[in-house]
Amino acid sequence: MTYGTVIEALADPTRRKVFESLRQGPRSVGDIAKEVPVSRPAVSQHLKVLRGAGLVTDQAQGTKRIYRADQKGLSDLRAYLDGYWKDSLSSFAEHANKKGKR
């Protein structure tokens, strides 16, 4: 169910902006706060949720903490999409094969 966490994490528009700001490359909380219309503590809070969903990772760099986008969360989402059609097709196959035997 990790994709659920990813979807929820990205459903919030501000949080999505925080995530999108990392598309340009790794950034500190202060850098992100300059691009997003919320306070630094709020940015930190959003980053925490994004980290929980596997969408960002962080690393200490001197006195700063640097955040970067993480592929893991998006891979989970991709796996969900694959699974969506897999489920539907196996359900179809089960039903069709049953009918074929009649």
Partner: protein, 151 residues
């Protein structure tokens, strides 16, 4: 932004029934097999899925109150070999991706069903104001996915 192609989602399955029957079950009998509870807009309240069997036909679900929720539209109707759908469950038509389902005879009496869900790229090319207006649900998520994958 770099508009790199995003790999389509591909799935396939082989069923031990003839081509024509396989196509029929997939479309006119979808209600008998579609996992509605897991894969629908209204979840546990979903009661029916309908494919209108013609070009430009609608694909939609009906919930417990009788309300219809669009899933998509049949773009190309080529029974019994191919079905091309625009796919936008719970979202605006402008958010549509494409789903193609192909049916091929394999050995005697068996049919291979191949599905391709594609066209993710266009979700990544939105202008900012438009993106702002579509900030809900998983299409937003997919758009982000597309953006990210296009890096």
């Amino acid at each position: 932004m770099n508009e790199t192609a995003i790999a389509p989602v591909r799935q396939s399955v082989e069923v031990s029934i003839p081509l024509v029957k396989a196509f029929e079950i997939f479309t006119s009998e979808a209600n008998d097999w579609w996992p509605l509870r897991e894969h629908s807009i209204s979840g546990e309240r979903a009661s029916e899925v309908v494919f209108e069997l013609e070009a430009s036909g609608r694909v939609y679900e009906i919930d417990a109150d009788g309300t219809q929720h669009d899933w998509g539209k049949i773009l190309q109707w080529d029974p019994p070999r191919r079905l091309l759908l625009s796919w936008y469950p719970g979202h605006a038509v402008s958010e549509a991706t494409e789903v193609e389902i192909r049916f091929t005879e394999t050995s005697q009496g068996s049919t291979l069903v191949e599905l391709e869900h594609r066209d993710w790229e266009k979700l990544g090319s939105r202008a900012t104001p438009l993106r702002e207006s579509y900030d809900k649900g998983w299409v937003g998520v997919l758009r982000l996915y597309a953006d990210r994958a296009a890096l």
